[in-house]
Point group: C2
Chain length 255, copies 2
Amino acid sequence: MNERVVSGRLSIIGLGPGDETYLTQQARDALREAQDVIGYAPYVARVPVTPGQTRIESDNRVELQRAKEALERAAAGRKVAVVSGGDPGIFAMAAAVFEAIETGDPAWRELDIEVAPGISAMQAAAARVGAPLGHDFCVISLSDNLKPWDVIEKRLEHAARGDFVIALYNPASRARPQRIHDAFALLRRVLAPERLVVFAKSVGRVEEDIIVSTLDEADPNEVDMTTLVLIGSSGTRLLPRADARPWVYTSRKAP
Amino acid sequence: MNERVVSGRLSIIGLGPGDETYLTQQARDALREAQDVIGYAPYVARVPVTPGQTRIESDNRVELQRAKEALERAAAGRKVAVVSGGDPGIFAMAAAVFEAIETGDPAWRELDIEVAPGISAMQAAAARVGAPLGHDFCVISLSDNLKPWDVIEKRLEHAARGDFVIALYNPASRARPQRIHDAFALLRRVLAPERLVVFAKSVGRVEEDIIVSTLDEADPNEVDMTTLVLIGSSGTRLLPRADARPWVYTSRKAP
């Protein structure tokens, strides 16, 4: 008998941004049931402690290796939780896990796998300023670690010409601070200077900082690794308030 | 003395799709604290009961009227929760509330308003099939109630030519069953026939039904009001499994 019994379970869990505010019931239940919790150290640190659980913290750069370790543990019969900030399905761990499955042990395909979606950074940022994602939008990662910059430029161009609201993930890194400047240069060639721009830094954390401006006035030097960038469409509007940051929302009507 | 004291609060709350699985801690807390819960009847029915709460159910078509009623109650000092399925910030109630604020009583701008994001249908659908939103994507509503069809066509064209994964909301209605057929005709002119397509019906509910196919084989007649449609990019891949629906994920690498 050479048959393998795969009795473990792998949950790929989104913690949302920041603290437990955004944790879903599904994520909470899966975290409680997990025997092993694996993730980038700051995410593991945010998981409510369950006695007896093994916690495995890894570096942010080794997503594929982390995915393989999680799959191996699940294949060995463990109940494993891989944790991600935001939504694991949006520029996060879920794609890395399925990539590892595609290239790994065929038995991994038959594993019991659950993806628990989470509130992604763009949703938390949008909620803080109003409803800028209230109509058609595009979501683009500016990271050129795994795709060439000309693919990113092509997508920015189509997103702008299609008059979408645009959410930019990974807009800057220490290794490539220039990306967001290049993206803004491109967008400024295509879009009107009065387009609304939101820089949402560290959303959901104590150091949260949100800047609302326009495409011609926004300073890309303000953007760091923790920033979610939103560029409005022609239907995105500003509602000034007396003693508070203005609301920003995108009309459901075409302009 | 003519000064108005605005002591109420308006929470615009996302319930996520389906049952309480996707409810966040923030949404749960806001629902418990609300004195008045307002929403489309099936959403109000999903809110856990808190004794003493007023529940106001409305028709789905009257979003702006519902928003105004919520704002009036909050301005009168009530703690009001407007509930939405999915994420209120994504094709849902939040934009309607801010639209009502823009055109309504200036005092409404100074109200204490909180948006509690929720898991949107595309996230739940993506989680069920793997990680199709793992890379750059566009989100488009096919509803032409409030925008002309040529704007939708322009956006579909740019989304397709930009090689984005595409999530389609409101793909069909009883009044306009033709929209999804028109959208597929357009996408088939631009995209390769083997592009992966997911129809996720009633995600998170008992009648959930998910169909994975390709652009040339998918039948738009399968699409109804409860369906979230996902069209893969050139980097979206299929992982066949022995006894289950295949996994679908979008590679983090450019093809």
